[in-house]
């Protein structure tokens, strides 16, 4: 499915995006520095697909989303939405584009105004963009509530009368009001009860089928990302390190950081947990104000240690390169992807993830 969607037209094109925030004076240099939250990333989102962005806090995934929504301006680089460059767009055009992309936020307790009725909340985008008469808007709201699985009488009530899952439905109804092309969902279920999450994920998936939506989903939960995305971009310290079709990424990761992430993910299986060998990354993520030279991951990279600290890792930033020659699709930014492929660390990680009865005998059997 991902291959087909990959061929569909590009909806969002992000080219060499940089978003730097001014920071205080550096202790060593005394000069004004920058937090390089996003530091040169390029990717596209195709119509009808779900692209996931994963990575740890501070990797720049949320900043990227905010730049696409034009909630902040890029320091450098370009974002095109359906071919239109957002940095040179006129105010009028921007209004039209804003209708076509809508955010869904993590916390439905803070993203809904408690003093407004659900009807007013859901109708708000229609009012802002002057869509329809009052009566038409009312009708549209009840249609939207029905679409997201809320009863009609929800319209007259206030957010506090609803549980977390229902509030997220309200937020989704609001996002759907203007019939957008793109929904940007930042951790859409992580604030919800575990038993409610599947309902919301299924709703998002149904809406995508029904309305041909394109999704950009930001999440840290790797199991969730596997379930809902067609392609995944892995970010580390402001850079994309790997971008692959979802199944390829989980079955054959090519960046050492991706392998480490998969290796850290908890598995709800006592046997797998008892026998797995985790890759433990040394130390913390370095500061984005002063990122490491060369490959940004080199200071914590398990593979570099294994290879005897090759100079190139600290000297040269690896480009995001296609991986076709490995019979795979996507891109990876590592000087030694073949060493990742051959590593027993990757093999161990994949065996633990697929369970003791691995589906593919070539990937290993019971540990």
């Amino acid at each position: 499915m991902s291959a087909d969607k990959g061929k569909s037209p590009v909806l969002v094109m992000v080219e060499d995006l940089r978003v730097w925030f001014p920071a205080g004076k550096g202790p060593s240099t005394g000069r004004r520095g920058f937090i390089k939250a996003v530091d040169g990333i390029t990717f596209s989102v195709h119509r009808g697909e779900t692209l996931g962005l994963v990575g740890e806090s501070g990797c720049g995934k949320t900043t990227t989303a905010r730049a696409i929504l034009k909630l902040l301006d890029p320091t450098e680089g370009r974002i095109r939405f359906d071919g239109v460059d957002l940095s040179t767009v006129s105010r009028r055009e921007l209004r039209l584009i804003r209708r076509r992309m809508q955010p869904v936020f993590q916390d439905p307790f803070s993203s809904l105004n408690p003093k407004r009725t659900v009807e007013r909340i859901v109708a708000e985008p229609l009012v802002i963009h002057r869509q329809g008469t009052t009566a038409e808007r009312k009708a549209r709201v009840s249609e939207l509530l029905d679409t997201v699985g809320l009863p009609p009488d929800a319209a007259g009530r206030y957010p506090h009368a609803f549980s977390g899952g229902q509030r997220q439905r309200i937020a989704i109804a609001r996002a759907m009001a203007l019939q957008p092309d793109l929904i940007i969902a930042d951790e859409p279920v992580s604030a919800l009860d575990v038993s409610i999450r599947a309902q919301i994920l299924n709703l998002l998936s149904d809406l995508q089928d029904q309305f041909h939506l394109t999704y950009l989903v930001i999440a840290h939960d790797l199991a969730l990302v596997r379930q809902v995305t067609d392609r995944v971009g892995v970010m580390y310290l402001g850079k994309l390190v790997e971008l692959r079709p979802t199944e390829d990424l989980y079955r054959a990761p090519l960046h050492p950081y991706t392998v480490a992430l998969l290796s850290s993910a908890p598995i709800p299986d006592t046997q797998a947990e008892a026998t797995r060998q985790r890759i433990v990354l040394e130390g913390d993520v370095p500061s984005p104000a002063d990122p490491p030279t060369g490959c940004r991951f080199h200071t914590r990279c398990w593979l570099r240690q294994k290879l005897g600290d090759p100079d190139i890792c600290s000297a040269e930033a690896p480009a995001l390169a296609p991986v076709q020659d490995r019979g795979a699709s996507g891109v990876v930014a590592c000087h030694f992807p073949e060493a990742v492929e051959d590593s027993h660390e990757r093999r161990e990680t994949l065996v633990a993830l697929t369970g003791s009865r691995a589906s593919s005998p070539s990937e290993g059997t019971t540990p």
């Binding site: 575990v194 598995i267 299986d269």
Partner: protein, 376 residues
Amino acid sequence: MKSPVAEPGTIVADAAEADGPLLSVRDLSVTFRAESLVRAVRTVSYDLAVGEQVGLVGESGSGKSAGALALARLLPEYADVSGTVTLDGTNLMRLTERELREVRGDQIGIVYQDPFSSLNPVLTIGKQLAEVLRKHKRLGARAARRQAAQLLGSVGVPNADDRLSDYPHQFSGGMRQRAVIAMAVAPRPALLIADEPTTALDVTVQAQILELLDELTSQHRTTMLLITHDLGVVAGVTQRVMVMYAGRIVESSTTADVFTRASHPYTVALHRSLPRIDLRQERLVTIEGQPPDPTRPAEGCPFAPRCPSRIDRCATEDPPLMTIPTARRATAGGWNMTSIQDADGVQVPGPASPHLTACWNPPAPVGGLSERGSTP
């Protein structure tokens, strides 16, 4: 993970060795006096043996945190707590506030979700560690400072000597949680309560912190009660799991059993509704409806409105924790409460208790992940 997970045999032996459980909770109830009464925990009983690592799993509002904080009587004024909590022979419910302060820290260590809230932002990490050591180990200022560095190093903070003079905000999230853990384990408490200790942390850091907790508690035979909403977290570090729903323990067994032979419909549904990291499912199985409103406790089993195995009896009678054979016989409806208790004795989850479920109609055992890898 260093310690193998499923070793119920050894645990039972350990428990038998000691005179009794380290911690004994009986009929613990917590009610919050808010606008309406919130019945957060409803007559919960369990035992913890010395050196056990036990998971308490539930979603928000299940009562898992309120129940655990009630152990150390850390709940606010407007919480009514009843029942008994016996730690090493002492009923904590009868202690004065001053006696309690000794117990907290000395005998019960607590690690919260947010390490920031456990640290004083205007004191250096070193000062805060030294303070704990001086109070609980009665060390002098200089000895405390020396031990503080050692302690910080022992929880994996690099350059511990230099970092003692840092303030909490200069530590990363993972390092702060390490410092908090150092403070909690410094007095060598018999019981460590870890309330969502990794929820605020990134996934690579989460793995490190879980390993640290596992290491420290195994090393000192500290009993750990690990509270979490994440089934994946308990799989690696606990030997036993108690699942809570709507203020009750609804299932209790070895961790391995809860994963491979879950018997309460809620646990089963939870397993099935989780996205899986090992494969993409056609569609997620949902648990319909919402968790019950704790201000309006319903008659019967609290999970009944959402339960696919619901039978008539579920609407009127709240099932107690039973062994599975007893639960199956009770399905026929011919058994009343008294005969169930006669058949099972009084069932309290503990180190040696059998697999217990609070269900009148437990489905055939299903592990959400017992089929792992068998589907392409």
